[in-house]
C-alpha cells in the first residue's frame, strides 16, 4: 500500500458500527490534516441525537451534520444528515440530494463513496464497517478504481458481518483490518 497524502476519509457503516466509529474518531491525530465524512443508516423524521452519540471524549473534535453547499474543511468530522444522500461538488463543498432510496437507504453509502471517488480520486480513503446489508461494496469498488484506498472491518470482528463481507467479496484489493488496526492507521495518517 502506497502512502498517498490523503484529503478525505469516508467511513460507512450500519448496524453495529457506532462503537467502532467512536473508536476511530478517538484515534484521529490532533489536529488532523484531512476531512472525515461518516455515512450511517439512520431513521428519518425523528429528532436525531446522533451528533451527541458520536461525541467523543476528545472535546476538541466536533461532529457536525453539514448543510447543503457547506465547504469541506480539514480537521472536521462530518456526519451525513438523515434522509438525504450526501454528495460532493467539484469545488469541494457538500451537496445534499433527496432523491430515491439506494440499497433501501438514504443516505446511501454507495452514493457518497461514488461521489467522493469522482472528486477526490487517489486522495481518498474508504472505510466500511459492520452492517447488515450490502450498501458500500459497489461504491468502494469505485473509490479503489480511482486510486483511493479501501479498508474493510475484518468481518469476524463485526457485530453484523454482511456489509464488510460483501465489500471484501466485491473488492479483492480492499484491506481487511480489525478496529484496532484501522485506528492505528488513522492515528498516523498524513503525520
Amino acid at each position: 500500500m502506497t502512502k498517498n497524502s490523503v484529503d478525505i476519509v469516508v467511513i460507512g457503516g450500519s448496524a453495529g458500527s457506532i462503537p467502532v466509529i467512536c473508536e476511530l474518531i478517538e484515534a484521529l491525530p490532533a489536529p488532523f490534516d484531512f476531512a472525515v465524512v461518516i455515512v450511517i443508516h439512520r431513521s428519518k423524521n425523528v429528532i436525531s441525537e446522533m451528533e451527541q452519540i458520536l461525541a467523543v471524549k476528545r472535546k476538541e473534535i466536533i461532529v457536525k451534520e453539514p448543510d447543503d453547499k457547506e465547504p469541506i474543511q480539514k480537521n472536521c468530522v462530518y456526519l451525513a444528515p438523515q434522509n438525504y444522500h450526501l454528495l460532493i461538488e467539484e469545488i469541494h463543498s457538500f451537496c445534499l440530494d433527496y432523491s430515491e432510496l439506494v440499497s433501501y437507504s438514504r443516505p446511501s453509502i454507495d452514493v457518497t463513496f461514488e461521489s467522493i471517488a469522482k472528486i477526490y480520486t487517489e486522495k481518498a480513503v474508504a472505510i466500511l464497517l459492520s452492517g447488515a446489508n450490502s450498501d458500500g461494496a459497489r461504491g468502494m469498488a469505485e473509490m479503489i478504481a480511482k486510486g483511493g484506498i479501501g479498508i474493510v472491518q475484518e468481518p469476524s470482528t463485526a457485530e453484523y458481518p454482511v456489509m464488510p463481507q460483501q465489500a471484501l467479496d466485491n473488492n479483492p484489493e480492499a484491506i481487511a483490518w480489525t478496529p484496532a488496526q484501522i485506528s492505528a492507521y488513522i492515528h498516523t495518517l498524513n503525520v
Binding site: D67, D68, Y98
Partner: protein
C-alpha cells in the same frame, strides 16, 4: 443501477447544452454532482449505454423529452415532511400571519403537492385557509397535474399520519381525505384553494407579493449562483417581514443575500425578510 453508467463532466456539459438549445430548459447552474446521478439514472432506465444514444433521443424523439424531464427532476416528497418544521410553523409563523386580512403563500418547486396540502391543513386548523391564496409552482407540468389531483397512495397514509401527529396535529388525519381503493384523495376544499402554475426558478421572475414563501429541498439541486438567484427572487417576492422557509439542511449562510434576512427558527430554517 445508476452507477453502471459512467458519464464524464464533458459529456454532461454537452447534454446540458443540448437540452437548452433543443428544449429551452436551462440546467447549466444545477449542482453537477446530483444532476450527473439523475442523467445516469435516466440512461440506465432507458437502457442507453452511451451519451450518444441519449443525445440522439433528445434531438430526434419528441415524446422522449417529457419523460426525461420528469425523470431527471427529483419529485420525491412527503406530507408533513420534517414534522419539526411544521411544528415551528404552527407556533412561530402562523400566529403572525393571522394579522393580515389576505394571506398569500407561495410554494416554489411544489413537486407533486404533498407539502402544499400539509400547509393548507395547518392554515385550516388555524382558521386562516379561507382568507389565504396559495400559489404552488413547479417547472414540470406533469408534477403540477398530479399535484392538482391531490391523490396520495393509501400505503403512505400511515407514515403521513405519524408525521402529522408529530407536527402537533390533534385532529383525526383521516378527516382531510377520502379513501378510494388504493388511494386517498385530499378533500376538495383544500385542492380548490391552490393555484397551480408553471414557474422555473432558473429563468422566471417575481409574479406576486407573499407573506410566506416555502421552498424546501429544491435549491439543494442548484449550484451557489442559482441559489443566489432564487433567494434574491424570494426576497423580492416577499412583503417586508414576510417569511421564507427552506429545507432543514439548507442554509442562507452561503448565499450573497443573507444579511437581508433574520433567522426565526434556526432548527426549522425559517427566515424573515428584514424591512
Amino acid at each position: 443501477m445508476d452507477s453502471q453508467i459512467q458519464l464524464t463532466t464533458e459529456e454532461l456539459n454537452e447534454i446540458i447544452q443540448l437540452i437548452y438549445t433543443q428544449h429551452g430548459y436551462d440546467f447549466s447552474d444545477y449542482a453537477r454532482s446530483s444532476l450527473l446521478r439523475r442523467v445516469a439514472r435516466c440512461m440506465a432506465i432507458a437502457d442507453f449505454k452511451t451519451s450518444y444514444e441519449l443525445k440522439y433521443h433528445l434531438i430526434n424523439d419528441k415524446s422522449f423529452f417529457a419523460w426525461f424531464l420528469e425523470t431527471i427532476t427529483v419529485n420525491v416528497t412527503e406530507m408533513f415532511r420534517d414534522p419539526i418544521f411544521y411544528k415551528e410553523l404552527r407556533e412561530k409563523v402562523i400566529p403572525t400571519l393571522a394579522s393580515y386580512p389576505i394571506i398569500k403563500v407561495w410554494h416554489a418547486g411544489c413537486a407533486t403537492g404533498e407539502e402544499v396540502y400539509s400547509m393548507a391543513i395547518l392554515l385550516q386548523e388555524a382558521g386562516l385557509l379561507n382568507r389565504t391564496r396559495m400559489y404552488a409552482t413547479d417547472l414540470n407540468p406533469v408534477n403540477l397535474e398530479r399535484a392538482r389531483q391531490g391523490i396520495i397512495p393509501l400505503k403512505q397514509i400511515r407514515e403521513y399520519t405519524t408525521n402529522y401527529i408529530k407536527s402537533g396535529g390533534t385532529n383525526d388525519f383521516s378527516a382531510y381525505y377520502t379513501a378510494q381503493y388504493d388511494n386517498a384523495i385530499i378533500h376538495k376544499e383544500y385542492r380548490e384553494e391552490v393555484v397551480f402554475a408553471r414557474h422555473n426558478l432558473a429563468v422566471d421572475q417575481v409574479f406576486n407579493e407573499f407573506q410566506l414563501v416555502c421552498c424546501r429541498n429544491v435549491m439543494i439541486y442548484f449550484n451557489q449562483e442559482l441559489q443566489n438567484r432564487a433567494v434574491h427572487l424570494f426576497h423580492d417576492s416577499l412583503s417586508p417581514l414576510g417569511y421564507l422557509a427552506i429545507g432543514i439542511k439548507e442554509s442562507l449562510l452561503f448565499t450573497d443575500i443573507k444579511e437581508q434576512f433574520e433567522v426565526i427558527s434556526p432548527l426549522a430554517r425559517i427566515y424573515r425578510r428584514k424591512k
